[in-house]
């Protein structure tokens, strides 16, 4: 057997799960879809003493629409996100991004909450959460708090979650009708982690200028980033080839702690970041209506 020994518990309710996590502290790890945690166990890179399986807790896997917001339970499987009619209609950027997450067998098990909590810097969902200004609902045995995506992704594989806390849901504000959106990434094969990626949301004013721009980068730094200077430069400008090229150049400057590994050097990833931002802005501006 590959993984080191651990105990396993299958709580049937959220309060029970939170109480177990509170008692066991950092040695206990929540288990969602297992598509990141079990590889770490198989490679013995993680050695928890207890796994708390979230899959048997009712109510954590619902997709709901509340006024102007889509709320996804942490245990919604990626495959469900990909196919859900409500998500396709209201947050098409999220559905499209899901097709880039691994392969169907990975998405059949992997969850949206697991991906956000794992905070792989090359993952798609954290960048989507940033681009859409999502809010993450976090609970512990003693309290519930809501963390904006901007404050959630702290560092490589590190989030604002403290031991004993669970991510229970993600709330995504539905972009207004006519908003343009796009996700672009460069990966070696379809389904591989991105070497550079960008997720974009644009709103155009009646006169054709850009009213709002959100540009999130992934795969290029230790955590997903918003390219704020590029967003500001674009706002109020007409969306032209030139303004888009300038914004893409500015977006690359947002990369403060570049990623560099055998798959791609920092210099390569930075060049590709410029390319994916440009492509995503072009695609989003084609989609944007007024």
């Amino acid at each position: 057997m590959k993984p080191p020994p651990f105990d396993y518990i299958r709580p049937r309710g959220l309060d029970e799960a939170l109480a177990i996590l509170a008692t066991h502290g950092p040695d206990a790890r929540p288990l969602a879809g297992g598509q990141s945690l079990i590889p770490l166990l198989n490679l013995r890179l993680a050695r928890p003493s207890l796994l708390v399986d979230l899959a048997f807790i009712p109510g954590l896997a619902d997709v709901q629409a509340e006024n102007g917001t889509v709320v996804l339970g942490a245990m919604v499987r990626q495959r469900t996100v990909e196919r859900d009619a409500l998500i396709a209609q209201r947050v098409p950027l999220l559905a499209e991004a899901t097709r880039l997450v691994g392969h169907p067998p990975i998405r059949n098990r992997g969850t949206i909450g697991g991906s956000l909590a794992h905070a792989d810097p090359s993952a798609e969902y954290p960048a989507i959460a940033l681009a859409l200004d999502a809010e993450l609902v976090v609970r512990s045995a003693s309290r519930e708090r809501v963390v904006p995506a901007r404050d959630f992704f702290v560092d490589l594989f590190t989030t604002a979650l403290a031991p004993g806390e669970l991510l229970t849901a993600v709330r995504i504000p539905v972009p207004p009708p006519g908003a343009g959106w796009a996700i672009q990434e460069i990966a070696r094969r379809h389904g591989d982690f991105a070497l550079a990626g960008a997720a974009v949301l644009l709103r155009q004013a009646g006169d054709g200028t850009c009213e709002h721009a959100a540009i999130a980068l992934f795969g290029v730094a230790t955590r997903p980033l918003r390219a704020t200077a590029a967003e500001h430069a674009l706002t109020g400008q007409p969306l032209t080839a030139e303004s888009i090229r300038e914004a893409a150049a500015l977006a690359v400057e947002a990369i403060d702690e570049p990623l560099s590994d055998v798959h791609g050097s920092a210099a390569y990833r930075q060049r590709m970041a410029g390319a994916v931002v440009r492509r995503a802005l072009e695609e989003a501006s084609r989609r944007a209506g007024t």
């Binding site: 590889p39 198989n42 796994l51 399986d53 392969h103 169907p104 990975i106």
Partner: protein
């Protein structure tokens, strides 16, 4: 570490067992049930050799613990055919979609699950569907040809 009892269905048969939590579903199928058709290549999710179906959906059995399969309906390559080969298996055989056969159980089950959802796929969709399965010897060209032929066989049978 405390063993955990599980109850599941494997290839239509009810199975119950007590397992160590750290035992993967792949090891459970192979070592406890003797179903060695499920292969283990990488054991971290990247090769697809261990693919099985859980409640009709293709998953990596190396990335699932046996305890997580509580209540699940598992289909392995051994359960796919009833009288002779399944049409997907036949298509792989007829179109040289396998050579050593190590990747084949995972390839066949991935293709089987994919064709149920997408009975008439384009070549590009076939390639995308199989992108998570590695083959080190056949070459992917004939595998794509075999999946297309399997789609036609299944359409003919309907």
């Amino acid at each position: 570490m405390a063993r955990v009892s599980i109850g599941l269905t494997v290839n239509g048969q009810a199975v119950s067992a007590e397992v160590e939590p750290r035992m993967t579903l792949a090891d459970f199928l192979r070592d406890e049930l003797g179903l060695t058709g499920t292969k283990l290549g990488c054991e971290h999710g990247v090769c697809g050799a261990c693919t099985v179906l859980i409640d009709g959906a293709a998953v990596r059995s190396c990335l699932m613990l046996a305890v997580q399969a509580e209540g699940a309906d598992v289909l392995t390559i051994e359960g796919l055919s009833h009288n002779g080969l399944h049409p997907v298996q036949e298509a792989y055989w007829e179109h040289h979609g396998l050579q050593c056969g190590f990747c084949t159980p995972g390839m066949v089950l991935t293709a089987y699950a994919f064709l149920q959802e997408r009975p008439d796929p384009s070549d590009e969709e076939i390639r995308e569907a199989l992108a998570g399965n590695l083959c080190r010897c056949t070459g992917y060209q004939n595998i794509v040809v075999a999946v297309r032929a399997a789609a036609e066989k299944l359409a003919g049978a309907r």
